[in-house]
């Protein structure tokens, strides 16, 4: 018997991305990076000091708190550029908004 086809990945909606990006941003700001109150989900995280250690901690946070494993192909500089791009990648990989 053939396997049922895998469901097509659904593109996350803008409110879903916004909501998750906000949660991710607040976690990064509280634990990893010194971010000012005026910065937000589109702030350039690399310019704010994101380094390899912090990236690894974000990956672990996504796994432990949001239950999502980023595929290897998604672990790129573009993915970690902003909280919004991280949320986009996490939702695409199956995170609950």
């Amino acid at each position: 018997m053939s396997q049922p086809p895998a469901p097509c990945p659904r593109a996350p909606s803008a409110p879903e991305v916004e909501q998750l990006a906000d949660r991710i941003f607040r976690r990064i700001a509280s634990d990893l990076l010194e971010l000012s109150a005026v910065s937000g989900v589109d702030v350039d995280l690399f310019a704010a000091g994101l380094d390899s250690m912090a990236i690894m901690q974000i990956i672990l946070m996504l796994e432990q708190e949001f239950g999502v494993h980023l595929p290897d192909v998604a672990v790129t500089r573009q993915t970690f550029a902003t909280a919004r791009s991280i949320a986009q990648a996490a939702l695409t990989a199956g995170a609950a908004p």
Partner: protein
């Protein structure tokens, strides 16, 4: 110059106590103080009076800079200051024509006027500014924050100085049971993976020797080429493994030229405990360590070695080994430094580590000018103890990589530095 008004003290961090331990070994062996240098290559326009004024203002709120070590058996060691203690960061202005590397060598070999001091050397293009710091008081990131604070105060004479710029940047494991659990976790990880048969290029027994160094400066084009090669392995995100693998291979090449071979190579890599982008705390060492190791046969190919080290990095991050290390290092503040050193040497055949290594990333990317002068380049030069006798330290400024080779006189034989340098360049840039 500023006199301390009130007495005070602060606990040494785990990193401070480790550095005090190493410094004591170095002094006893005739290797001088364990100091680091941060070097700014400046363009024209430095306002040295503004630098002096800003430095005096920072000194006035930094009594910890002249803190005297106070320790009692099994107690927590503290940096202590008393009313009347004078805090000053002396600035030595050299005449034009002085070679900055000669001044740097003297400072690294322990000829230091104060725990923290400046040397200013005019050049044809502007000036070289050397910040000398006692390593048990500051780490590399702290030295960068110190310079940033001076620049901020010089740029705005009315800016408020920030007092209390020391102490813990992160919440700590509290309670003996929890601390012991964390220390045990680190110990189990370390001994399960500790590499046997490590060698360093220097003797296992400490010997006297002055500090030597060489700063390898890569152009923007070369740096682009190096980062592109590293990115092919790490996708541009986890490049520490690449640089550490190249460092291991450079040491392996020298040992091979002696007709010797280490069974394995082991090195720690500092992990910052300050939040990224944080301006404080400036003072004290706020680093934990990850421990990496590869067997000799795993170093045959650079990319494969870098991937293995990257996996070790991911594994240690997953297990939050940096918090376990930090808890253990803090626990060891309560044991005498001679005993701490004995443990370090016992578990490594006397060598402590194969070599010292760090990659401190971008040197203050947000700071373009310093006291009126453009910063054209910047790097760190830490001195190293023997054992192990050598260290390789990477950093970057304005898209240009630097690799600082640091060693003790007598550790490298004639021709060995060139061998190490050529192996590193070949690995980083490609054949």
């Amino acid at each position: 110059m500023s006199a301390v008004a009130r007495s005070g003290s602060t606990e040494l961090s785990g990193g401070d106590w480790f550095l005090v331990t190493l410094s004591r070994m170095m002094r006893a062996a005739g290797q001088g103080e364990h100091v680091g240098l941060s070097v700014l290559e400046l363009g024209p326009g430095l306002d040295s009076e503004a630098l002096r004024r800003a430095s005096a203002r920072l000194a006035a709120v930094s009594p910890v800079a002249i803190g005297r070590l106070h320790s009692v058996l099994f107690g927590t060691p503290r940096w202590l200051w008393r009313p009347g203690d004078v805090v000053e960061f002396p600035l030595c202005q050299h005449p034009p024509g002085v070679n900055w590397e000669t001044v740097a060598s003297r400072r690294l070999s322990g000829e230091v006027p104060a725990p923290v001091s400046f040397d200013l050397i005019p050049t044809e293009r502007g000036a070289m500014l050397l910040l000398q710091w006692r390593h048990s008081l500051l780490d590399g990131r702290g030295a960068e924050l110190f310079l940033a604070e001076i620049a901020r105060l010089a740029g705005d004479p009315k800016a408020e100085t920030r007092a209390g710029s020391w102490g813990d940047p992160a919440p700590r494991t509290r309670g003996w049971r929890a601390v012991l659990g964390e220390a045990e976790r680190f110990k189990n990880y370390y001994y399960a993976r500790a590499r046997l048969g490590i060698r360093a290029l220097g003797d296992a027994r400490p010997r006297p020797g002055t500090a030597r160094f060489h700063v390898e400066r890569f152009s923007a084009a070369e740096t682009g080429q190096i980062l592109a090669r590293a990115a092919a392995v790490s996708r541009g995100l986890f490049q520490v493994g690449w640089f550490l693998a190249a460092t291991m291979r450079a040491h392996r090449r020298v040992l091979a030229s002696r007709g010797e071979r280490a069974e394995s190579y082991q090195s720690s890599c500092a992990v910052q405990e300050r939040k990224r982008g944080a301006r404080h705390p400036i003072w004290q060492n706020h680093v934990a360590h990850f421990f990496f190791g590869l067997a000799d046969e795993q170093l045959g190919e650079l990319a494969a070695a870098a991937r293995l080290l990257q996996e070790q990095f991911a594994d240690m991050s997953r297990q939050r080994l940096e918090t376990a290390f930090a808890a253990m290092a803090r626990m060891f503040r309560h044991v005498p430094s001679w005993y701490w050193l004995r443990i370090l040497r016992h578990s490594s055949g006397g060598f402590i580590t194969s070599f010292f290594f760090s990659h401190t990333g971008d040197f203050l990317p947000e700071l373009e000018r310093f006291c009126g002068a453009p910063i054209e380049h910047a790097w760190h030069i830490p001195s190293v103890s023997q054992p192990p006798g050598t260290g390789l330290f990477f950093g970057q400024h304005d898209g240009r990589l630097t690799a600082t080779f640091s060693w003790r006189e007598g550790v490298l034989r004639p021709g060995e530095f060139e061998l190490m340098r050529s192996q590193l360049r070949e690995d980083l840039l490609g054949p």
